[in-house]
């Protein structure tokens, strides 16, 4: 309906939808035209093109991002080729760069965050949509939203002065004592570690995963729940069979969107992960992520090759998050038909 509303047909077409399919008689156009200001047609077109220009600028920004990343990383791409992503050396002094430790650090910290955040998020979403009293519901969703509004740097600050000392004093000795045999919790207990980064990332992505999961769970028709309850299911069986199973694609999408957020998260991770470009098995060991190495070294990069290596890391980060976000977006869209945006924003 809307797309027909330009040009001289504007006024005659603007009748209620329900008026039926009968097309306007051409005769009706003639008298109407007399009242139409000449300038309004011009103004309408101008307005339309202005708005189109805004929309195009969104497209242009993304194209520009890709272009700048590709151009500015040219030096490093030509110097190292694909080897850049599989070598471990990061030596700005001798001009030898490999991104593997950063890729490893990014993936491990994000996966750790998912392992911690996903069960909690699904639990919270289940509780708020299916179990808790109506009055508590909006309060809880507000509280979870608050968690999403805390800036990254404040998470980092809190992590440095509260979480890290706590981990060092209580959690790390405990894990080392009882789970040290797994090999994941060995070595020095600095506090600043992959574990600290994973925990802070988990706290940071819980709101996103929760709110989208809640949205897809609310999108499940009530009839599904009633149907399952009617054949004698308990509440949990109703949730499992009636809700979670129906919403699983959307929940998967929510998880992957959370992953996308975790992969690109910069400041809090930089403050907590320890920033050492090494690949270590232990979660107590410091690590480094793609985003943190850019944050730490970009403004200090002394020569062009160094800078372009950092931009290439940015390019890698962009491509990974792009892929992850597209997959997630499609999965959420398939459930909620395009309304996932509010939850992420």
């Amino acid at each position: 309906m809307l797309k027909q509303m330009n040009g001289p047909l504007l006024k005659t077409k603007a009748q209620p939808n329900s008026a039926g399919p009968s097309p306007e008689e051409p005769a009706a156009l003639v008298p109407r035209r007399k009242f139409e200001h000449k300038s309004s047609r011009f103004a309408d077109a101008t307005f339309r093109y202005l708005m189109l220009a805004c929309a195009l600028s969104v497209l242009a920004i993304v194209v520009l991002i890709v272009r700048e990343l590709i151009l500015s990383s040219a030096l490093a791409r030509h110097a190292f080729g694909f080897k850049f992503f599989v070598t471990q050396v990061w030596d700005p002094v001798s001009g030898d760069f490999g991104a593997l430790p950063f890729i490893y650090g990014t993936l491990v910290s994000s996966l750790l965050a998912l392992i911690l955040a996903v069960p909690l998020s699904i639990g919270v979403a289940t509780f708020t949509t299916e179990l808790c009293p109506q009055r508590l519901r909006s309060l809880l969703s507000y509280v979870v939203e608050l968690l999403a509004t805390i800036p990254s740097v404040i998470y980092g600050l809190w992590g440095m002065y509260v979480l890290v000392p706590f981990l060092r004093q209580y959690v790390q000795p405990f894990l080392a004592k009882y789970f040290g045999w797994t090999g994941l919790f060995g070595g020095y207990q600095f506090g600043y570690s992959m574990l600290a980064a994973g925990i802070i990332l988990a706290i940071m992505i819980i709101p996103i995963v929760t709110s989208i999961t809640r949205e897809v769970m609310s999108a499940v028709p009530t009839a599904q729940r009633e149907g399952v309850l009617a054949i004698g299911a308990t509440r949990w069986e109703m949730i499992r069979v009636g809700v979670l199973r129906n919403a699983r694609t959307g929940i998967m999408g929510a998880i992957i969107l959370g992953l996308g957020r975790a992969l690109g998260e910069t400041i809090a991770v930089t403050m907590l992960i320890g920033n050492r470009p090494e690949i270590a098995k232990s979660l107590f060991a410091p690590g480094y992520t793609l985003a943190s190495v850019i944050a730490n070294e970009f403004s200090e990069a002394s020569d062009d090759l160094y800078l372009s290596a950092l931009v290439e890391i940015g390019l890698a980060l962009f491509l990974i998050t792009l892929l992850v976000n597209i997959v997630a977006q499609l999965m959420v869209w398939s459930i909620t038909r395009g309304s996932a945006q509010r939850a992420t924003a």
Binding site: K11, S57, S138, V144
Partner: protein
Amino acid sequence: MMQSKFWWRSLQDKVMVGLAAGATLMVLVPLVAIFGYLVYKGIGSLNWNFLTQIPKPVGETGGGMANAIVGSGMILLIASLIGVPMGIGTGIYLAEFGKKRFGYLIRFTADVLNGVPSIVIGIVAWSLVVVYQKHFSALAGGVALGIMMVPIISRSTEEMLLMVPQSLREAAWGLGIPQWRTTLSITLRTASSGVITAVMLSFARVAGETAPLLFTTLGNKFWNFNMNQETAALPLQIYVYAQSPYDDWHRQAWAGALILIILIVISMSLVRMAASRGVFKGGN
């Protein structure tokens, strides 16, 4: 047999419900811990000097973040000047004209842009503005934050405009009001509380961003009101102070964090009030 099975199922039910409630409680723990500690540390460190003075030289105690607060305001102003018109314009395009395939392309692109890590946007602002100007500037930071605002504002604006009843538009057209007037004075006006919500949301989101400012505005120890110069910003200052070895700077980092979160929570609460009072209850 049946009886024992029901016993098992009911136990399972109780356990799972308990776990869901437990998960909710567990998520509340870090929230309370962060806010509690922030207020506890922040209030004690907050004083008049902090709000009115610029940083003292390294090693001296005292001083404040007044220049960073003003700098943040300046960067956010630049960001809003870029992001708000572009975001609202895109939203209007999507809601009023974007029914075709091209609209879906824009929608998808906006979602992609929303997912781009902020540090990557920082790199792009650096290579577009800083490299071009050959020095760091508040403008570069504003461009980075402005870009981040666009997708948030545009998608929410679109949603809000689509909630305006079609009959309102038709009534306006029926009175002979041109379409641009209809969109601006009728549709956008009706949805204004929702659009303002979207703007405030995006504002709250970028106000605390640090990563894109690291190598665009860089930070500054002194007053600066020139948008072409390096500028201090509140989140940036918190980041630097938190990692410094000085206790007095840590104290100031906490105070800065409290100021930042107060600003954000206030704008978020305004959003919530606008959303619940306005004609359109948000999509939550």
